[in-house]
């Protein structure tokens, strides 16, 4: 009995140990590395608070599940713009007062320093990322250049990789079908537009490998499982630069948007979470993170601080989603559209996927 008592004490002791840590839920892979290097290590050095990283395919889903079940185990989450709006609308997030965010080094208030739309009631944007498509130039020497090429199985035979979800796929399908970027969302508001997008996806459905985690597409390309794949631009950049893979990004038809830090309601370490969000979205940290992956910082004052990739020779600018040359046929993702339509379009997408 005494032994048992000791064991139980040990057991509960383990459960309660190390509670000043904060847990950050993000997207894994190269993006996680950039956050660890850009935010977490300096944060731990400055505050001696440990940061535990954990990954999900899309952190918005577990956040919602956690808050609704009353089981919040993470303090900070990194989610897409539309999901941040949606979660905030549903009352699942703590509000973050933008005026408490640190000012830029030149004294500009945070509210003026962030890019337009980057601050909302519950979320602070950290980066601009983009969904693009990429191929392996050692396998396809005369590579695709247009989004329509991605859907052209005759000109470019081989498997395709696509994210398992409606978002960005529907937009890209319409752009590949000849719809101008500016008209995409107007078209998706109509049932015919959605049918048209699914019909376009139908043309490559049989040849598609579906990915879920952001780290999978570069792996699929490297393993030769697919000829080309959509991906988050930073992942392709990281594989191409850090691992010297012959991957080429096609910017035509890219869909770009903000990624946001949010704090779920009921976060175990709310104070630590607030501190982390303020620290991570400060000017030097956003710039530091951008040295590790090609995502544009959401603060104007961070932009001039970014120079070279951490290898010390690669210029980052051409790889940023927002650089001029990459924006010729680009679509800013509509958070209004996805905040309202995400569930129903994903439901339709999954039914479409399950029907062989």
């Amino acid at each position: 009995m005494k032994k048992l008592l000791v064991l139980t004490t040990a057991l509960t002791g383990v459960g309660f140990a190390a509670h000043a840590d904060i847990t950050v839920l993000s997207w894994g892979g190269a993006y996680e590395t950039s956050q660890v290097e850009g935010y977490n290590k300096p944060f731990t050095a400055a505050t001696s608070t440990n940061v535990i990283m954990t990954a999900a395919d899309n952190p918005a889903a577990p956040i919602k599940a956690m808050v609704e079940a009353g089981n919040v185990t993470v303090d900070v989450a990194d989610v897409e713009y539309a999901d941040a709006i949606r979660l905030c609308d549903e009352g699942l997030l703590e509000t973050i007062d933008a005026s408490t965010l640190p000012a830029a080094p030149d004294g500009t208030a945070a509210t003026d320093d962030f890019l337009p739309g980057a601050l909302t009631d519950c979320a602070v944007a950290s980066i601009v990322f983009s969904t693009v498509f990429a191929y392996d130039s050692s396998k396809i020497p005369e590579g695709p250049t247009k989004i329509s090429d991605f859907f052209d199985l005759e000109k470019f035979p081989g498997k395709r990789g696509l994210r398992k979800g409606a978002k960005a796929n529907l937009e890209m399908a319409l752009m590949a079908d000849g719809v101008a970027a500016a008209d995409v969302y107007a078209m998706l508001e109509t049932p015919e537009g959605i049918d048209r997008a699914f019909a376009k996806l139908d043309t490559i459905k049989a040849e598609t490998v579906w990915w879920e985690a952001g780290a999978q597409p570069p792996q699929l390309l490297a393993d030769g499982e697919v000829a080309m794949t959509t991906a988050y631009n930073g992942r392709i950049f990281a594989a191409a630069t850090a691992e010297a893979k012959p991957f080429v990004t096609v910017w035509d038809g890219q869909v770009y948007e903000y990624d946001m830090f949010v704090i779920p309601k009921g976060a175990p370490n709310l104070e630590g979470a607030m501190e982390y969000v303020k620290f991570a979205t400060s000017t030097p940290q956003l710039a530091e993170q951008a040295k590790w992956i090609s995502y544009g910082p959401a603060r104007k004052s961070s932009a001039p601080l970014i120079g070279l990739f951490n290898d010390g020779k690669t210029e980052m600018a051409p790889f940023m989603p927002t650089s001029e040359a990459n924006l010729t046929n680009a679509l800013p993702s509509s958070y209004e559209f996805w905040a309202d339509r995400d569930s129903e379009l994903n439901e339709r997408f999954n039914a479409w996927l399950a029907a062989n």
Binding site: G15, T44, I52, T54, A69, T73
Partner: protein, 317 residues
């Protein structure tokens, strides 16, 4: 079984091809497990045998993925490898943390499953046990019911363990069990219990119940009888049951996905992340270590089984 002397040539041919077929099936069983071992020493970040590996060029092999297991997640992986480096490994390396979690959770869930399971098996093997079959069916069912269903149920239950009583009209709220070691331990114990029951009841077949009466009539207290008479006889069954329970926990990932927080990241959970994200040969080196552990566990269980059969006199013919 050698062929009888009256076998026809056709039968001899059949016999030979039959052995070849069996050999291929054994290969199918074992090759996938062994293939990860050489590949985990790959010097390149690929999953196939490189030309250098095939020609047994030593430069084609390396320990880099095993090294990565130690350094991944460390705060200062490049520091000098002195005692503070090892402390860093011990405290921060992702895979080391996962291994520690696996051991802690496995240990406690095994103890729980073994104690409760052994007692129950003793009761179940008594002829007087009422509703024996039904109760046995309930106790074995965690092994049969798909884990995803159990995990889903526990997810709701753990969110508010007192919520079950809400059916009676009150709505109390109490501590939750998700994201806690205790929650994962209880869940894993539940999954391990059927294995303990099955192995211990198997040992108790042929257990002479009159030994208990003999011991009692000689003046032994029930606890003396248990530790001096019953335990030595069923010990091999209990230990192998415990090993089964441990392996169940050691290998379990669905419960950890549904119920565990990042603090409870176990080895399989970490592998699950790794496989879906970046299947670098580091995963293969973890796999190799796990294969070696399972070989050791298997050897232990086999030895115990033979010992138990010898003790109980049900020696294999």
């Amino acid at each position: 079984m050698p062929l009888p002397s009256y076998a026809t040539p056709l039968e001899r041919l059949w016999r030979r091809s039959y052995l070849v077929i069996c050999g291929l099936i054994f290969l199918f069983l074992i090759a996938p497990i062994l293939i990860v071992i050489p590949l985990s020493f790959n010097a390149e970040p690929y999953f196939t045998f490189t030309a250098k590996m095939l020609s047994f060029d030593p430069t084609g092999y390396s320990m880099r993925w095993y090294d990565l297991l130690l350094t991944f997640g460390m705060t200062a992986p490049d520091a000098a490898r002195d005692s503070s480096w090892w402390a860093d490994v011990w405290n921060n390396a992702t895979w080391v943390r996962a291994a520690k979690n696996s051991i802690i959770i496995g240990f406690f869930s095994t103890i729980l499953a073994t104690v409760l399971g052994t007692l129950a098996a003793l009761g179940l093997s008594r002829a007087e046990m009422p509703y024996r079959k039904t109760i046995m069916a309930i106790l074995i069912s965690p092994m049969i019911v798909p884990v995803i269903i159990t995990a889903t149920g526990l997810f709701f239950f753990y969110s508010n363990p007192c919520g079950v009583i809400a059916w009676a009209g009150v709505e109390p709220a109490c501590f939750r069990l998700t994201g806690k070691y205790l929650g994962v331990v209880l869940a894993h114990a539940t999954l391990g219990i059927p294995f303990v029951i099955i192995t211990v009841t198997a040992t108790l077949i042929g257990f002479d119940q009159s030994l208990i009466r003999a011991s009692a009539s000689l003046g032994a207290s029930p606890s003396t009888t248990f530790f001096k008479v019953i335990m030595p006889l069923i010990l091999p069954g209990v230990v192998s049951g415990a090993l089964f329970a441990f392996v169940t926990s050691w290998d379990e990932v669905v419960m950890v996905i549904f119920l565990g927080a990042p603090d409870q990241q176990t080895l399989p959970r970490q592998m699950w992340n790794g496989i879906r994200e970046q299947i670098s040969p580091a995963i293969l080196s973890v796999a190799t270590i796990l294969v070696i552990i399972s070989i050791l566990l298997l050897a232990t269980v086999e030895l115990l089984r033979r010992r138990s059969e010898r003790l109980r006199g049900v020696a294999p013919q």
